[in-house]
Symmetry: none
Subunit: 206 residues, 4 copies
DNA sequence: CATGAATGAGCCTTCATTCAT
DNA sequence: TATGAATGAAGGCTCATTCAT
């Protein structure tokens, strides 16, 4: 039960799921990619359904870590601070999504449509993200640099939706670019990021 | 080849896919739900992969029709016009999504993770929606009621993302409420709709 | 129950079986080729197994008729008579096989490997042919122009084998030539015919 | 992937095909006869179509080996030599066909009517046999003990036809005798063999 | 009489999972 | 501990046959 093998299996599974989706990936695929016997898989994971949870765990862990690294968790005290903070988070996410194109692809083909259970979990993650965002907004209201009548919960939901649009765009681009790691400059992503920020802070009206 | 049977199969398939997802729905499931022999299915559709396309066709047809009904295609000439128009579209979508909770669920479990082909198709639909939205924004700039320096394409993408957030929320709610047609008042959805509009037109800053 | 329809079905079945074989021909194929509903088939024949018997009946009827036409059934009284008779029979068979390339093909793909029952029947037809040939030989011995110590039964079997070689060659050629009726000159067939006769009457030794 | 299992499957398939024919044999039949799960079949062979090729390979291998054992490949130098050689080959074939009655049955029900592809292959085998026979005849002409004006190709075809008659007779007898290995004395076969030889070397005329 | 919609038995094939080595 | 041979549940799909219209 070498811990390294466990990691390798998670990585291989992540790769397979991102490339072919959960349902079109067989245990044999994962084992073959790793060069191990497919019986070995079952020494590390209960069953096929089991691994996806661990892949998701692992992915979220990596994403959160990456976000935490780039982002001071310090709360913004002014609108400009917040604006900058949002920019940093957006850039951070962009960086993560583009550092490994398999991430957005996996979120699609490896996460959605697998299971009612997993759906629930993903919804719950989204809830957390919403709550986090709502917290930021709440903080902004308290500090006085955001509109007092802001519906924080639903506004947070809307903001997260814009981020999702980014993830989806990445997933599509990743699909177009194939699975290779050739990082085309994330120009599109950056522009979307800017558009989101302007929408939030400047509105669209003249 | 009664056209009615064809419709029934599409409906039953829609129902099954929305409830259990594409991969956990067998042809026998669809046939059983309809009370027909499973061989009959193959008199109307080529194979399992074939029906999903028709279900998607049908769904999009219904959605577009519903949207068209509620919405004057007339272009907005003032910001208030546009604001109202956005409100109508949002309400329209809300109404559709809540009229049949299977719709958002199907978009998830019956559409994502099926196929590279279908993914491509869904992306392409998203593209169209983006382009449509961008067109509205473009028009607004020309008419002078929207910021001239708006990045229409990416802003459209962001706006569509917010709508997606609504779809996702619906899908989750539908899951919680089961597949029955008990229309809990779409209070949440209405509030999200308002939050999106305020975000677009008023921004979040004080 | 028009008799003509019955004939048409037999013809269409013959065509399908010759082209695609018994197992790769569906009732729908036969009906479609004829432009009738495939339910109609069952008004004329019990089931799929039933039709093959009628096709075989029909085919043998046609072959025997053709042979009878070309051949005086009169018994040969001299070796030269017999030689000529054998030649006529051989030419007759050649003509039949080449008049419709589907015949040898059908004997293969529509007759062998269908059924234990049909195998038995074909064997029985072969028996009759053997017996007929043996009768000719017997007659020749009685008349004194054939060797008295001839094993008529097995010699007849051997002679029939040579004819079978011709049928097989035809079947292969027919396959090569496609199903069209382009009668390449049956040069090969004529030469085989001659070789058989020389083998019978002159032997191979110098 | 025990090689023995592979052999067992080939044998079982051979048995089933010989008894019931290709189309009336299911993978489950083969597996059941062997007492293995039917999934196991697919660990050793691609699909149902795949196995028939291997069965044919195996059968031809065995036949050729048996023929080679009994037969000096040395060329005949005199007519008597050749006569003896033909006798040995005929006896060899007889022995093979009767050593396992499933062989002639398989050649019928397991080989004909399966596939255009397999038909082609069988024709090609027949070609080789014809060519081999023609070679012997050619050699006889060169050595001077066969008629110089012999049409070697078509004569070879005719000779092969007589052998086929033997195969067919065997197949029928095997069917009558059931699939058991009770070797009724191949009296019939021997007599056919003699009749063929006399036909070739002595002709039928007095 | 003709039709073709409906049916379900039956078969091929995949693949997650187990377990003896 | 690692392996991969074996397994059989499960599901997609075909097509001969029936029968209401």
């Amino acid at each position: 039960m070498r811990e390294e093998t466990r990691r390798d299996i998670i990585d291989a599974a992540f790769d397979c799921f991102a490339t072919n989706g959960y349902h079109d990936t067989s245990i044999a695929d994962i084992a073959t990619r790793l060069g191990i016997g497919h019986g070995t898989f079952y020494r590390y994971f209960q069953n096929k359904r089991d691994i996806i949870d661990h892949v998701v765990d692992d992915l979220f862990g990596r994403v959160l870590e990456a976000l935490a690294t780039d982002n001071a968790p310090a709360a913004a005290e002014t609108l400009d601070d917040y604006r900058a903070q949002v920019g940093r988070i957006a850039d951070g996410l962009t960086g993560i999504l583009y550092s490994d194109p398999r991430i957005p692809r996996f979120l699609f083909t490896g996460t959605v449509g697998v299971d009612a259970e997993l759906n629930k979990r993903m919804f719950s993650v989204l809830d957390s993200a919403n709550a986090l965002t709502a917290g930021y907004l709440e903080h902004g209201i308290e500090r006085g640099y955001l509109r007092a009548d802001l519906d924080v919960d639903h506004t947070a939901q809307a903001v997260m939706g814009m981020l999702l649009a980014g993830v989806i765009a990445c997933a599509r681009d990743a699909g177009d670019r194939g699975s290779a790691d050739d990082s085309g400059p994330p120009e599109q992503q950056r522009e979307l990021s800017i558009a989101i920020q302007r929408l939030m802070f400047d509105g669209i009206a003249r």
